[in-house]
C-alpha cells in the first residue's frame, strides 16, 4: 500500500509539471501582458518598458520558462504583482480557505446524500421516497450560482430585513467585523455562521446526485443473497441495513468522491465569487485577468495538486472500505 502510494505520488510530479508547462505557454500566448493592465492616464512607453524590465518580462519566452521551472523546482514560486506579496504567501492564505469550504461541503454532501439515499432505498416507493426524489431533483437541476443568490435572498436579506427572523446568515465574506476580539468559542461560531450559505450552495447540488447513487446502490445490495442470509439469521433490521447492506452499498458511492473533487473545485470558483469568499477560485480568476503570470502559475500548480491528491485519497478510501481491493 505504502509502495503504491509512493508510486502514485512520484507519478504525479511530471503530471503537475506538465499541466503547469501547458498553462505557462497558454498564458504567455494570451494577448496583453501585466504591464498593459497597468496602463493609466499619464503612463509612457518608457515607463512601460522599465516596468517590463523590472518584472523580467523583457526576456524571450524560453528563458523565462527555464527560469520559472528552475525556481519552481526549488520551491520558489515568485512574486505576485497583483497582491504585492510572494506567491507562496498568497497561496498560504487562500488555499486553506478553499479547502475548508470545499471539504465541509463535501462532507455535508456525502453525509446527507448517503443518509437520504439510504432512507429512500429502505422506504422504496413510499411517499417519503417520492417526496425526497422530487426535492432532490429540484436541487440537482439548479445552477449553483442561482441557488446561491436565492439562499442569500431568503436567509440573509429577507430573513433579516423583511421577516426579522432571530437568526440570519451573512451574505459575503468569511469573518465578522469584530472577529479578532472574540473568545475562542465565539470565533468558531463566527466562522461557522459565514460558512452556512456557501456550504449549502455547494453541497445541495452534490447531495442530490449522491443520494440518487446511494438509493440505486442500496436497492441493488438489499436484494443480494448475503442480505437475505443476514435476515434469515434473525438479525434485527437495523443490523441488516447498517452493518451488512450499507457497507457494501457505499462502495460505488466512494468512487464518486474522486469524481466529485474536481467538480467541487470548479464549483467553488463560482460560489467564492458570489459569497466574496476569498479563496483560490477568486484568486485564480483575478490573477488571469491581471496577467499576474507568477500567481497564475502558482495557483494552478496547487489546483492541479489538489485534484491529484483528491483522486489519490478516493483510491485509498476505496481500499479502506473494500478489503478485497489491495494496491500493489
Amino acid at each position: 500500500m505504502v509502495k503504491y502510494l509512493l508510486y502514485r505520488l512520484v507519478a504525479a510530479v511530471p503530471l503537475v509539471l506538465g499541466i503547469s508547462t501547458i498553462i505557462f505557454f497558454v498564458m504567455s500566448a494570451a494577448p496583453g501582458d501585466m504591464v498593459d493592465i497597468m496602463i493609466r492616464p499619464g503612463m509612457t512607453a518608457e515607463v512601460a518598458e522599465q516596468l517590463r524590465a523590472n518584472h523580467g518580462l523583457g526576456q524571450p519566452i524560453v528563458v523565462r520558462y527555464v527560469r520559472w521551472m528552475v525556481d519552481t523546482l526549488r520551491g520558489d514560486f515568485g512574486y505576485s504583482v497583483l497582491h504585492g506579496r510572494p506567491v507562496l504567501d498568497i497561496i498560504r492564505s487562500h488555499l486553506p480557505r478553499t479547502l475548508i469550504l470545499s471539504l465541509t461541503a463535501l462532507a455535508v454532501a456525502f453525509f446527507s446524500g448517503i443518509v437520504l439515499g439510504t432512507i429512500q432505498a429502505i422506504r422504496q416507493y413510499s411517499w417519503l421516497d417520492s417526496g425526497l426524489s422530487v426535492v432532490l431533483l429540484f436541487f440537482y437541476s439548479m445552477p449553483s450560482f442561482w441557488l446561491a443568490y436565492m439562499l442569500i435572498l431568503t436567509f440573509s436579506l429577507f430573513a433579516r430585513n423583511v421577516w426579522e427572523w432571530p437568526m440570519w446568515f451573512p451574505a459575503a465574506g468569511m469573518l465578522g467585523t469584530d472577529h479578532e476580539g472574540l473568545s475562542f468559542v465565539a470565533r468558531v461560531a463566527d466562522r461557522m455562521r459565514f460558512m452556512v450559505l456557501p456550504t449549502l450552495s455547494l453541497s445541495l447540488v452534490l447531495t442530490a446526485g449522491i443520494a440518487r447513487y446511494m438509493r440505486g446502490s442500496m436497492l441493488e445490495v438489499v436484494r443480494q443473497d448475503f442480505v437475505r442470509t443476514a435476515r434469515a439469521k434473525g438479525l434485527p433490521e437495523r443490523a441488516v441495513v447498517f452493518k451488512h447492506a450499507l457497507r457494501n452499498a457505499l462502495l460505488p458511492v466512494i468512487t464518486l468522491l474522486g469524481l466529485y473533487i474536481p467538480v467541487l473545485f470548479s464549483g467553488t470558483v463560482i460560489i467564492e465569487k458570489v459569497f466574496a469568499w476569498p479563496g483560490m477560485g477568486t484568486l485564480l480568476i483575478q490573477a488571469i485577468e491581471a496577467r499576474d503570470y507568477m500567481l497564475v502559475m502558482g495557483a494552478s500548480f496547487f489546483f492541479a495538486l489538489m485534484v491529484i491528491v483528491g483522486n489519490l485519497i478516493a483510491d485509498v478510501l476505496y481500499a479502506v472500505v473494500d478489503p478485497r481491493i489491495r494496491y500493489e
Partner: protein, 567 residues
C-alpha cells in the same frame, strides 16, 4: 476510526477559531512591526481618548477590489489604494478643500518665488511615522527623487512634467523646509495632493527597481496618517486603527477606533452587505441599484460628480474613420441624453470634452451644437461623400468602401456592452454598420495601446483626468508612440493649444485656452464623449459627518463618527 475523526474535527475547529491575522515573516516586517506596536502603546498612553461620546466603534467599508499595491505610493496605480495613501495611512504635502483649492496638510505653508520657478514647503513639526520617527524634509526629498527616478517605474510620469528632475530639482533647506524647482503652470501643486510622502529611514536603502514590490506596501506599511496599519488578510480585509498621535492641528485622533476595508468582488453581495448593515459604506454602487438604496430607511444614498468620463475612441488611422466629419456625424447620430437615462439612470452628465463639470475651466461646451440630431448627421455624412450607393442600408464612399466599424469593449463590463449595442442600433439608422466586439480586458489594452498594433476601429473606454487637466497623452502628435495615443490624432492646432495650456499660469487665461481647445477638439473629434458618470455610494445612517466629492470617497474619512446609540 472514531478517534481519528474526533482529532480531525478538533483540528478543524481550532483552525476555525484561530486568529485570522496574516502576520508577515519577512525580515523587514519582523523588524518594523514591533516598533509600530511600541509606538501605538506609547501614543495611546500619551494621548488618552477625549471624553466625548463621538469616540469609539468600528467603521467598515466595502469595495469591489483589492487595494492594489497596498500602501505603497510607487506601486501600480489603483484609485482606491491612492485614496488610502492620501486620506488613511499616509500623508500628502497638500490637500484640497471643498472648492478644490490647495490647503495645508503635511506642509504647513508654502511660498512660491515671484517667477514661479521655485516653491518652498514648510512642513509641520508634529507629524511622526507610525514607528515614532519624525517626518521631515529628508522624507520629502527622498520621495521627490524616488518618484522621478526612471528605474522605479512610477506609473504616472506626467505628474512631473513641470518639475526639475535633475539632482538640483530639490533642496533640503533645513529639517522642515524643502525647495523644489519647476516650470510655471496653473496647477503645478496638483501632484502633491495625490502622491504621498515615503519614509526615508525605512526605504532609503532599498534599490529603486525593488521599491514597488517591497513588503512595506502590503505586509507592514508604516505611514504617518490618521490611521495606523493593523493587519491585511489578502483578498479579504485591511484593518487600520486610529492614530492617537495624529496632529491636533489636523483634527487629532480620529473618532472611531478601527477602520476596516473589506474586499467584496461582487456588486450584488456588496448591496446585500449594505442592506443587512454588515458594512457601513458601499463604494461604486451600480446605477440600477440606486433605487433600492434610496428606499432603505437605514442607508443614505450619496452621489457626486467625479473626474472620469466614458467615451468611444476612434482609430483615425482606419480609412472609414479618417474624416473628422464622419466621427462628428457618429456623435450627432447618437442620442447620448437617452443613453445617460437608460444606462446611468440619469446619474451622469453628457460629456463633450475632457473638462469635468466640477472643474473651474468647465463652461458646458457643446451642449447645443452636439445635441442629438440624426438629420444633420446624415447630411454631414452625405457631404463627406459617404452615400448608400447600392441600397443595402449601409453607406459607401466613392471607392465602394462600406461605412462599417467594429466597436470593442471589455469582457464583463455591462455598461460598455450596453453602449456598444445602443451605438449599433442608433448608427444603423443613419447607414453606419456597427459590430460590437467583446475582448478580454488585458488583451484589449494590448491591442489598443501597442503602437505597432492599434488593432481596433472604435473602443469603449473610460478615462480619469487629474485635477490638473492634461490631454497631451491622448491627442498631442508628438506622443503618437505612447500607449495612450489610441486615436492617432495629428492636428497642429490641437498641438499648439495643448502646449500653450501646459505653459499657462493664470486661471482665467487657462480657462480661455480650454474653451478654444474644446472648439478645435470638437472639429477634430477623435472621441465620441459619452458622459461623466456620477459616483454613487450607499452609507449607513449610523455613520455621521460623511462628505464625498470629486476628491474621492475617503476624503474626510478621519472626520466621520458613529452615532453613539448605534455603535
Amino acid at each position: 476510526m472514531k478517534k481519528e475523526l474526533a482529532v480531525l474535527v478538533a483540528v478543524l475547529v481550532s483552525a476555525c477559531g484561530g486568529d485570522a491575522r496574516v502576520t508577515s515573516n519577512d525580515p523587514f516586517c519582523q523588524r518594523v512591526l514591533p516598533t509600530v506596536e511600541a509606538f501605538l502603546g506609547q501614543a495611546r498612553a500619551a494621548n488618552p481618548v477625549p471624553n466625548d461620546e463621538r469616540y469609539g466603534g468600528t467603521v467598515v467599508m466595502g469595495g469591489i477590489g483589492e487595494l492594489r499595491g497596498g500602501m505603497n505610493p510607487v506601486a501600480p496605480i489603483d484609485h482606491s489604494a491612492i485614496q488610502h495613501h492620501q486620506f488613511v495611512n499616509l500623508m500628502t504635502l497638500i490637500d484640497y478643500d471643498e472648492n478644490f483649492d490647495a490647503r495645508p496638510y503635511l506642509a504647513e505653508s508654502w511660498d512660491v518665488s515671484e517667477d514661479q520657478s521655485e516653491i518652498t514647503f514648510h512642513l509641520r513639526r508634529d507629524v511622526v511615522w507610525h514607528d515614532g520617527e519624525q517626518t521631515d524634509a529628508h522624507d520629502v526629498a527622498f520621495t521627490y527623487r524616488t518618484v522621478m527616478n526612471p528605474a522605479v517605474g512610477f506609473g504616472n510620469p506626467a505628474y512631473w512634467d513641470h518639475y526639475d528632475k535633475s539632482a538640483e530639482g530639490i533642496e533640503v533647506i533645513d529639517d522642515f523646509t524643502v525647495r523644489m524647482r519647476l516650470r510655471p503652470h496653473a496647477e503645478f501643486l496638483d501632484p502633491w495632493r495625490s502622491v504621498a510622502i515615503l519614509p526615508e529611514h525605512l526605504l532609503g536603502d532599498v534599490p529603486a527597481q525593488e521599491l514597488a514590490e517591497h513588503p512595506f506596501g502590503t505586509q507592514c506599511p508604516v505611514g504617518n496618517g490618521p490611521f495606523v496599519f493593523d493587519s491585511h488578510s489578502p483578498s479579504e480585509r485591511w484593518v487600520f486603527v486610529a492614530n492617537p498621535a495624529f496632529p491636533q492641528g489636523l483634527g487629532g485622533r480620529p473618532f472611531y477606533d478601527r477602520y476596516i476595508f473589506r474586499v467584496i468582488p461582487d456588486q450584488t453581495a456588496l448591496l446585500t452587505e449594505l442592506m443587512t448593515e454588515s458594512i457601513d459604506a458601499y463604494i461604486t454602487v451600480r446605477p440600477n441599484q440606486a433605487q433600492q438604496i434610496i428606499d432603505n430607511p437605514n442607508v443614505d444614498f450619496l452621489n457626486f460628480r467625479f473626474r472620469n468620463f466614458v467615451m468611444v475612441a476612434w482609430n483615425a488611422r482606419r480609412p472609414q474613420l479618417a474624416d473628422p466629419r464622419v466621427r462628428r456625424a457618429i456623435t450627432m447620430a447618437t442620442n447620448r441624453e437617452e443613453i445617460v437615462q437608460a444606462i446611468q439612470g440619469g446619474y451622469a452628465v453628457v460629456a463633450n470634452s475632457s473638462v469635468p463639470p466640477f472643474h473651474w475651466a468647465y463652461r458646458g461646451f457643446g451642449a447645443e451644437d452636439m445635441a442629438y440630431n440624426a438629420a444633420s448627421a446624415a447630411a454631414l455624412l452625405d457631404e463627406a461623400g459617404w452615400i448608400d450607393r447600392d441600397g443595402d442600408g449601409v453607406r459607401e464612399n466613392a471607392d465602394g468602401l462600406p461605412l462599417a466599424v467594429s466597436i470593442k469593449y471589455n469582457t464583463g463590463n455591462q455598461e460598455r456592452q450596453d453602449i456598444a449595442e445602443i451605438l449599433q442600433a442608433q448608427l444603423g439608422g443613419v447607414g453606419i454598420r456597427v459590430t460590437p466586439e467583446v475582448v478580454d480586458f488585458g488583451a484589449l489594452l494590448g491591442q489598443i495601446s501597442d503602437p505597432d498594433s492599434r488593432d481596433f476601429d472604435g473602443v469603449v473606454m473610460g478615462w480619469v483626468p487629474e485635477f490638473k487637466l492634461d490631454d497631451m497623452d491622448l491627442f498631442h502628435s508628438a506622443r503618437t508612440n505612447e500607449p495612450n495615443a489610441w486615436t492617432g490624432t495629428d492636428n497642429p492646432e490641437i498641438d499648439r493649444l495643448l502646449e500653450a495650456l501646459s505653459f499657462s499660469v493664470d486661471r482665467d487665461e487657462t480657462a480661455r485656452l480650454w474653451a478654444e481647445y474644446e472648439v478645435v477638439l470638437n472639429e477634430e473629434h477623435p472621441f465620441t464623449f459619452f458622459y461623466f458618470p456620477d459616483r454613487l455610494t450607499g452609507v449607513n445612517k449610523r455613520v455621521r459627518g460623511v462628505h464625498m466629492d470629486a476628491r474621492g470617497e475617503w476624503t474626510n474619512l478621519k472626520d466621520w463618527y458613529l452615532d453613539p446609540e448605534r455603535r
